[in-house]
Amino acid sequence: MKVLVPVKRVVDYNVKIRVKSDKTGVDLANVKMSMNPFDEISVEEAVRLKEAGVATEVIAVSVGPQQAQETIRTALAMGADRGILVKTDAEVEPLGVAKILKELVGAESPDLVIAGKQAIDDDSNQTGQMLAALLGWSQATFASELEIADGKAKVTREIDGGLQTIEVSMPAVVTADLRLNEPRYASLPNIMKAKKKPIDEKTVEELGVDIAPRLTVLEVTEPAAREAGVKVETVAELVDKLKNEAGVIG
């Protein structure tokens, strides 16, 4: 069984984000970039499936600029077998990524796609679902447990107020939630070996996909700065403020 894992190059989760002064987006100049943390979880899950003998090959895919190759290398160091980079300098929306992935699924015929539930840069949470729809495959989103047996995937999903366990037939798209696993640190010898694993490069044109944006960003702004609080002297004062100023109690 082949597993395809899309990995996205995003601003490192430790970086303090700054919005560009013209409010068109986030300032990416000299900012450290890393693999989307949810995608790390997907890679880990796929590699574990391989180690358990369930999967035979793990293919890491990224859509992005040349540097996205580094993100693929990270996946290869963690244990993926090979990579595909679909090179583009354009901003690609989830629908565009889903269409690209559909083409790659057509070429590679995996039985399972494990994607991060969302990327931490745009928080869209759409690509996995759109891909499943375009392919006409089953989907199981927000997975916190995954079991593969007899051509079916048993997936525990994190839903509001609890867990839901579903069974979907394969092929399927699964999206990884935070608690699916704890990704490993790639070992230093494996980082060095990853250099020898193949990465195919493709272009969007080759795949014949229309990635023209459907959305227009009007403005990007920073969250409003939090104002300093006040110290109240008595419980009565607190209750009064909650009632009359904050309006949170009746």
């Binding site: 890393s34 580094e70 290398r73 990270t74 160091a77 640190y185 790639a186 070992s187 230093l188 010898p189 980082i191 060095m192 990853a194 250099k195």
Partner: protein, 384 residues
């Protein structure tokens, strides 16, 4: 062979993450328990940290000196006790064998050291022989296909966990100086070898030093490193020479961590209605620390690149060790000062670093030994 930039960055990134996510949160606990947790040691094994300097042919990473120093700079970001877990396998414990060992010795031991399955220690210092390494008294007298070893080695890092010791011992009692000393690679289970209890130390809790005692120890003749007696002192000096750059990088990593800590504190802590960092006297302490740490980093990477290019960097290595170990002492002192009362309180961890870094000026060649190495070499150069 040097790594390409992309691989090197990934390697350093991974180590940085491991250090900051896994090790930094445990610093207080390790100091308290005087023990690095077993699961962390296992993670270090899986990561490949024990094999940093061992060549890939023998199961290691084979980093060059510059790469090893860059890694050591990252490792310096946390308590030095963590680095000690694998430090002797990367440096003093294994290097004698790597530099002067026979092929059969290397083929047997290096793969075990590279994975961390076995720990190697370096046993040179004795109760009567420290900086004066040529006065080693431990004896190894040839008796058929064995050597009979007698003596005590002192302050041996990782001795309690070691499976094997690089031991400097006198094989020829008639030669009093360095020429009578040979180097051995002695397995711990050799009859007559015993290890004392860990010493109580000022700092670096979690890293242990013990006596190693040889009492008529029957050491097989093939444990001699290389084929010849009488060159053990040279082996020891080469090992220490190489290790100086690594230690310097660790010192500088710790300094960079302390600078980060004190800068953050200075930006937050308010006195007289403003952040203390806005006072120029505080800024001076930050700036001096930054300048010195930057200078050390530049020196170390310069010397490491020269060594990788095949140059003899004995003097440069001593310059780095002398400067970086003294520098981190000054930085730690300023860090305590910037933190003020909090710097003296254990909860903030600054006083712990202050105690930890004191060792750097002593081990693997005291500052005074470094000064004499540099001074002697300078005079030799003009006299020759």
């Amino acid at each position: 062979m040097a790594l390409d930039l992309e691989t090197r960055n990934q390697l350093l990134d991974t180590i940085r993450r491991f250090v900051r996510e896994r090790l930094v949160p445990l610093e207080g606990q390790v100091a308290e328990d005087d023990e690095v947790p077993a699961e962390i040691v296992q993670e270090m094994r899986e990561l490949g940290l024990f094999g940093l300097s061992i060549d890939p042919e023998h199961g290691g990473l084979g980093l060059n000196m510059e790469e090893e120093c860059l890694v050591a700079l990252e490792l310096g970001w946390t308590s030095p006790a963590f680095r000690s877990v694998f430090g002797t396998n990367v440096g003093i414990g294994s290097q004698g064998l790597i530099m002067d060992g026979r092929e059969d010795q290397k083929a047997h031991w290096l793969p075990l050291l590279a994975t961390g399955e076995k720990i190697a220690s370096f046993a040179l210092t004795e109760p009567e022989a420290g900086s004066d390494a040529g006065s080693v008294r431990t004896s190894a007298i040839r008796d058929g296909d064995h050597y009979i070893m007698n003596g005590t080695k002192r302050f041996i890092t990782n001795a309690d966990k070691a499976s094997v010791f690089t031991v400097m011992a006198r094989t020829n009692p008639d030669v009093k100086g360095a020429g009578g000393i040979s180097a051995f690679f002695v397995p711990r289970e050799t009859p007559g070898v015993s290890v004392g209890l860990p010493e109580k130390k000022m700092g670096q809790h979690g890293a242990h030093v013990c006596d190693v005692i040889f009492d008529d120890a029957k050491v097989p003749a093939e444990c001699l490193i290389g084929d010849h007696e009488g060159v053990g002192f040279k082996t020891a000096m080469k090992v220490l020479d190489r290790g100086r750059l690594h230690i310097s990088a660790v010192c500088t990593g710790v300094a960079e961590r302390l600078i980060d800590e004190m800068t953050r504190y200075a930006a937050e802590r308010k006195q007289f209605g403003q952040a203390i960092g806005d006072f120029q006297l505080i800024q001076a302490m930050l700036a001096d620390s930054k300048m010195e740490a930057y200078a050390a980093r530049c020196m170390i990477l310069d010397a490491a690149k020269k060594r990788d290019a095949g140059e003899n960097v004995s003097v440069e290595g001593s310059c780095c060790k002398l400067f970086a170990s003294e520098m981190v002492g000054r930085v730690a002192d300023r860090a305590v000062q910037v933190f003020g009362g909090a710097g003296y309180i254990a909860d903030f961890g600054i006083e712990r670093f202050y105690r930890d870094v004191r060792l750097f000026r002593i081990y693997e060649g005291t500052s005074q030994v470094q000064q004499t190495i540099i001074g002697k070499a300078m005079l030799r150069a003009v006299r020759d």
